[in-house]
């Protein structure tokens, strides 16, 4: 039997060594195939969570991107070339994100990459884009580390410190809160990031964090933590989580008699929030990238078109997806011949560019500098409260 076991590798070795002589030609032929195709199409890759627990994020973002692409194509495309979007699902998993982006870049030869919502998946993909020198714009990954990966990685949203800081300012100055409780989702880097920066800024402003407790996304019962929080009698509770848990937390908090406002970040932004939280969610505040209530024509125009196309109100992720695509398209327009490195340079030069979520300037750390809005939840509508500038 061992003889036969041995025969197999030997046979393989013979086959391999015969094939090996061709190596040099193949390397020469295959290696030089450059990213930008010569045809009249520009291929842009997108990776997102279209299935799994955060599917609404991926789908919203993708809807926004598709809309921007269709608009650009209707106007004749970029430099006479048609924009084509190739979207790959990563099922909300980091390693799937890595293989999806590797595929987009090395097999499909995309010119640029758009994605992801969650920072951990952007972090998995960013090094690959950087290594291959393909510009990547993340619409809504707010973790600072994402753009620190390298000079080919950009974002069109603000970063976690900013959202946490904004909310701390709002709690202290507008709500006049002195004592705030924090309920963070330890499973999510996003939640942890927001909570940390909120805590830092709020203490700076003279406030007190009375309790800092945690849950995990996927939990459904929060009564133990909420009972603890209630005992400390806070003026507000900061819950920088995602909509599913926040909805449940709001319900259970009101049941336990916690009447103070809950505060949160853009993870709250979903039409599912009211569905899950019901009336309990009303009267709470969160920081966001934009509000549908804005009177800005750019915003109302976007909302109108989005509603016509998809039959629902666009959430912030859809707006950011749209913006990311807009920034990319504008940068492509400014390049000489659509080389990835030229696109990178042009994205970096984006300044006071008017998009749906405000005027975007890309700073030297490749982050977007732009204002945040604070909104108050009122049923399915998010009422605009105030804008807080960077």
């Amino acid at each position: 039997m061992f003889k036969k076991l041995l025969a197999l590798p030997l046979a393989l070795a013979v086959v391999a060594s015969v094939g090996c002589t061709r190596k040099s030609d193949q390397a020469a032929g295959g290696g030089s195939a450059s990213a930008s195709g010569s045809s009249n199409e520009i291929l842009v890759g997108e990776f997102g969570s279209f299935t799994g627990g955060e599917a609404t994020f991926g789908i919203s973002t993708s809807n926004g991107i598709k809309m921007a692409f269709e608009e650009a194509n209707a106007k004749g495309g970029v430099k006479g070339k048609k924009l084509v979007l190739k979207s790959l699902d990563n099922q909300g998993k980091a390693e799937e994100a890595a293989s999806a982006v590797t595929r987009l870049i090395t097999q499909d030869h995309v010119t640029a990459i758009l994605g992801e919502v969650a920072s951990s998946r952007s972090l998995a993909a960013a090094p690959i884009a950087q290594q291959n020198k393909i510009p990547m714009i993340t619409p809504s990954s707010t973790n600072p580390k994402v753009t620190e990966v390298g000079d080919y990685v950009f974002r069109v949203c603000f970063i976690d410190p900013f959202q946490g800081t904004v909310m701390a300012k709002f709690a202290s100055e507008n709500l006049k809160a002195k004592k705030v409780a924090i309920l963070r989702d330890v499973k999510s880097d996003y939640s942890v990031g927001l909570a940390d920066y909120f805590q830092k800024k709020f203490k700076e402003l003279g406030g007190e964090i009375v309790i800092d407790t945690s849950f995990q996304s996927g939990d459904i019962d929060f009564k133990a933590q909420l009972t603890q929080i209630k005992a400390t009698k806070p003026d507000a509770v900061y819950v920088p989580g995602y909509y599913t848990e926040v909805g449940l937390i709001a319900r259970q908090a009101r049941q336990l008699g916690i009447e103070v406002p809950l505060l949160g970040g853009d993870g709250w932004d979903s039409s599912k929030l009211y569905e899950i939280g019901g009336k309990a969610i009303n009267g709470n505040y969160f920081s966001n990238h934009y509000t549908t209530e804005s009177t800005d024509p750019a915003v109302s125009d976007f909302i109108k078109k989005y509603k016509e196309k998809y039959g629902e109100t666009p959430d912030a992720l859809a707006a950011l997806g749209y913006d990311a695509a807009k920034v990319l398209i504008a940068a492509m327009e400014r390049t000489a011949d659509l080389k990835p490195e030229q696109i990178r340079d042009e994205i970096a030069k984006t300044k006071d560019f008017q998009v749906v979520t405000g005027k975007i300037t890309i700073d030297d750390k490749r982050n977007a500098v732009k204002p945040a809005v604070i909104v108050k939840v009122d049923g399915n509508v998010n009422r605009f409260v105030t804008t807080i500038a960077p």
Binding site: F2, A94, A98, S99, R103, V192
Partner: protein
């Protein structure tokens, strides 16, 4: 034939279902080294071909496949050969992955090729230690109870990782290096190739160790525990000890699989090692055949390659993303048509023998 431990349990030349060979022992012993080394050399050459003819995406998937092969075969030792039902295998993989990743990022700067071997061994040892701690009390339990304990353990590991800031917590650990490229005169061995060499080294080592183990006296003990624990006990086998041993060895290789995975993916998040990862391993074991190492290898290849190289292109053609639907459907159909898995309890060479002789 494998179901009869008592008949062959004390056979000094333990080979499943074969008559004792006529070859003298030293020659057989030498041969047992030649085959794996030959396989390694052959695969190394194949690697050169792959390097030249495929892109990074295909290469990444192949590295994941290597990790999955080790992951699946190591679980097969517990679930297939010893008949225990562990559904927390991802926990051990996570330990190995994070240990190796942490050593290569935070502890050792600019690790050399050989550093990666001891990183993986360290990962395996951490996983094995955890396997011992979990196995000792829980392997006195049977069936469903063991399943629940291992499930719980898998979750505990994940939650601990989630709450450890040193390894990135929920954000994950990124920037995990691959072995650096090696330049020898005109030849450049890229970091994929070096990583591939490392991966196939571990795959072959795992297969050789597991193969020789299950075909030894110890392997007979595993099988006897699977077939009838009471009968095994009455034959003087300390079944708990056997189960703990199996569990520790299996955990060690799961840790190795984690290390291979970590350096291929170059980024880890605790979410990767959730319950679904454990289920993936079970799928591979069942699909390949409970108690067939080569079956697990094939199943790992199918499970890794099918969604990427068959279902993704299919999505490109049809325009609808039915990847996961078709994948599940394929598994269901397969289990209906071939409930014992690809190979059942047989091994590839068994098929050979039947056809050849």
């Amino acid at each position: 034939m494998t179901n009869d431990p008592n008949k062959t349990g004390h056979n000094p030349v333990p080979e499943v279902g074969t008559k004792p060979s006529a070859k003298p022992a030293p020659k057989r012993f030498a041969m047992s080294f030649v085959a794996p080394v030959g396989a390694f050399i052959a695969l190394a050459i194949v690697g050169q071909l792959l390097e030249a003819s495929t892109n990074q995406y295909v290469q990444l998937v192949l590295l994941f496949m290597c990790a999955n092969i080790i992951f699946a075969t190591s679980l097969n030792l517990v679930n297939g050969f010893t008949g225990q039902f562990s559904i927390g295998h991802a926990g051990f993989m996570a330990l190995g992955a994070y240990t190796s990743a942490y050593l290569s990022t935070a502890v050792v700067q600019n690790p050399s090729f050989f550093d990666f071997i001891w990183f993986a061994i360290a990962g395996g040892l951490v996983a094995a230690a955890a396997g011992y701690v979990v196995g000792l009390p829980s392997l006195r339990l049977r069936g469903d109870y063991l399943a629940i304990v291992t499930l719980g353990f898998g979750e505990i590991i994940r939650v601990i990782l989630l709450n450890t800031p040193a390894i990135g917590g929920a954000r994950g650990l990124f920037g995990i290096p691959r072995p650096k490229e090696v330049v020898l005169g005109d030849f450049v061995f890229t970091n994929f190739y070096m990583n591939y060499l490392l991966a196939i080294f571990w795959v072959i080592l795992t297969l050789v160790v597991l193969w020789r183990m299950v075909h030894s006296v110890h392997g007979r003990k595993f099988l006897s525990v699977r077939e009838d624990e009471i009968a095994a006990q009455s034959m003087g086998i300390n079944t708990t000890q056997v189960k703990v041993r199996v569990f520790v060895i299996s955990s060690f290789f799961a840790g190795i699989a984690g290390a291979v995975f970590a350096h291929a993916a170059q980024g880890l998040t605790p979410a990767t090692f959730g319950f679904t990862k454990s289920v993936d391993a079970i799928i591979m074991v069942v699909l390949g055949g409970m108690g067939s190492l080569t079956g697990s290898v094939m199943a790992a290849a199918v499970v890794t390659l099918l969604p990427e190289f068959v279902l993704r292109p299919l999505t490109d053609i049809t325009g609808i993303d039915l990847r996961m639907v078709l994948y599940s459907l394929a598994l269901i159909l397969f289990m209906i048509l071939r409930p014992s898995g690809i190979l059942g309890t047989r091994e590839l060479p068994d098929l050979w023998r039947k056809n050849g002789k």
